[in-house]
Amino acid sequence: MLSEVRFDGVYKIFGAETAVEDLNLTVNAGEFLVVVGPSGCGKTTTLRMLAGLERPSYGRITIGEKLVNNVSPRFRDVAMVFQSYALYPHMNVYDNLAFGLRAHGASGAVVDQRVKETADVLGLGHLLKRKPSELSGGQRQRVALGRALIRQPQVFLMDEPLSNLDAGLRVQMRAELSRLHQRFRVTTMYVTHDQVEAMTMGDRIAVMNTGRLQQVDAPETLYDSPANIFVAGFIGSPRMNFVPGRLATAQGKPAVEFLGVKAPLGAGARLTRDTDGGEVMVGIRPEDLVWRQVAPAEGTIAFPADVDVIEPMGHEAYVTAVCAGETVTSRFPPRSGVRTRERVELAFDPARLHLFDANLGDTILQRPVAGGAEAARSVREARMDESA
């Protein structure tokens, strides 16, 4: 019973505040969609509207074939994991897990069996008699997850479920959540502000900012072809470098001029439109900007810069350098011996450049898709499994 979730022109307005603006988004059946964005971007409001805790001001929300705008949470057949877990503190783990089934009138034997099954899946079997206050953070998180799993709902909603865990546990639970999704294939909408969670867990990622959906794509697509400056800057760490540039031509082919160099846009690259006065914002990821000494001589372009900060990470180092008043971060090999205030040459492959409209912020560069679009990976196979 895989269900698709659709938002059609959904708005949520609180007084003078527009929390969500004209949201058009489909979560495919069986897909793990991560909604990511900075705080206040409307992602949690979106999730709460899907849960039925908020009513959309305009637009339609459908789960499967059913319009749910006016359906109360209890009849939506969704399950939610809260950031705070929201476990019932006066009930033990067993009763916490059983609550939803009992509310749906399941018989004692069925409840017992399903609680045992779910507890086994999550490794909670020995904790069934404990109260939430007697559990560790990770265990509480599992109970919260179990309470959602046990219901076998059409849709899972997760509101930053890992943000209260410490770093190690978070990595572990991330893998576990992915595993659970592989196993049960329930349509999932997962809200987070953590781009690592988004990149590692999502079949697709929806990036939101100031109430607007910015881009929805598979993680690699999002990373390689961000639709605008916001997405480009939000996804990826360290952050993408942005420097002002100007459109130009080199040997009759489109090029861009920035930081004193002129870079051709590369084979197959196409400008979708001209910009006002040819002004653009050039984006280049730190890992695409490297030390001249380690860059291939063929096909790269270099410019000089003065080293400002060196951040050794162990397996590599991030070097922040200043060129023509612009600060850029670049990736250096470890133990490069480069020192602060030293002049270095930074090299990049023009094929890795991103171009954005300096005023509107959206991308104006279209490149041939590299490696093939892996959109909604493995969802289709899952659907085939289901029908087989």
Binding site: R74, M80, Y85, Y88, P132, S133
Partner: protein, 290 residues
């Protein structure tokens, strides 16, 4: 060692070493506290001593032991009926107030009600008004309705007068129940009634206990309202009965008075002991959120 490090060490030792000495201000503080405390302890001591003294008077003195006072009081039928009256009066008041306060506090805590803040402030103000102010008009009203001299109608007014504070108290307890628990239960498929019964109510037990005890103790000790609204001897609750001990039976019987007061405080103490386990510890929100 650098100068800075050295100074940090000295500073630290200055902070860490605890040093107690008898100072004048400490003496003065404790003296005042003992004086204030004695104002509360002395009457209780008098009650204890006088109850078993064969020849009690105003003073607090070591008793010449006897149980005659107890026998005396237990022989008086009006003393026994006053207990019954007090139980009916305070019990009815407590049940009424607690149920109504719970029903009023929940929506006040959870729903968007226009002018909710002003309403809550009005309630707080009302809870501060002295009840004796209302006695005359209420008496007239009771005469009009023919409600005089009934413990249940008297309880009605006691409940009305304790309701504002009870609502205020209860609302704060319900505020403390995380709203997310209700959302979680709603998404889990629970009906509103189920959410209230299985999630909100169990978590509000401490609040209910506190409100109930507070109301009971107030109603148990209420004097002026039952004094005005009841008159037949079988409807006189304890505090009015104590007044009778002091006035209308000629000489003051200090021993009987002490015994009755002692017996009269037992239900409150028992109630407190029974309910105290609900106050804290047994119920808290540990593990609910975060």
């Amino acid at each position: 060692m650098s100068a800075v490090a050295a100074r940090r060490m000295t500073d630290k030792s200055l902070i860490v070493v605890p040093y107690r000495r008898v100072s004048i201000s400490a003496l003065a503080t404790n003296g005042v506290l003992i004086l204030l405390g004695s104002f509360f302890v002395l009457p209780l001591l008098w009650m204890l001593f006088a109850s078993v003294d064969s020849n009690p008077d105003w003073a607090v003195k070591l008793p010449s032991l006897t149980l005659a006072n107890f026998a005396d009081v237990l022989d008086r039928p009006d003393a026994i009926t006053s207990f019954r009256s007090s139980l009916i009066l305070a019990g009815t008041t407590t049940v009424l107030t607690t149920v109504l306060a719970l029903l009023a506090a929940y929506p006040l805590s959870r729903m968007h009600i226009p002018f909710r803040r002003s309403f809550m402030l009005a309630i707080l103000f009302a809870s501060g008004l002295p009840v004796s102010m209302l006695v005359v008009p209420v008496y007239q009203m009771y005469v009009y309705f023919g409600w005089l001299d009934s413990l249940y109608t008297t309880a009605l007014f006691l409940a009305a007068s304790s309701l504002p504070f009870a609502i205020w108290l209860m609302k704060n307890f319900i505020d403390a129940v995380p709203l997310e628990l209700e959302h979680a239960a709603a998404i889990d498929g629970a009906s509103t009634l189920r959410i209230l019964r299985q999630v909100v109510l169990p978590l509000t037990v401490p609040g209910i206990a506190v409100t109930a005890i507070y109301t009971f103790i107030n109603a148990w000790g209420a004097f002026i309202i039952p004094f005005v609204l009841t008159y037949s001897p079988e409807n006189q609750p304890g505090p009015v009965e104590i007044y009778n001990f002091m006035g209308s039976h000629g000489l003051f019987k200090f021993g009987d008075l002490a015994v009755f007061s002692l017996l009269f405080s037992i239900p409150v103490i028992v109630l407190y002991l029974v309910m105290s386990r609900y106050f804290s510890g047994a119920f808290n929100f540990g593990g609910a959120v975060k």
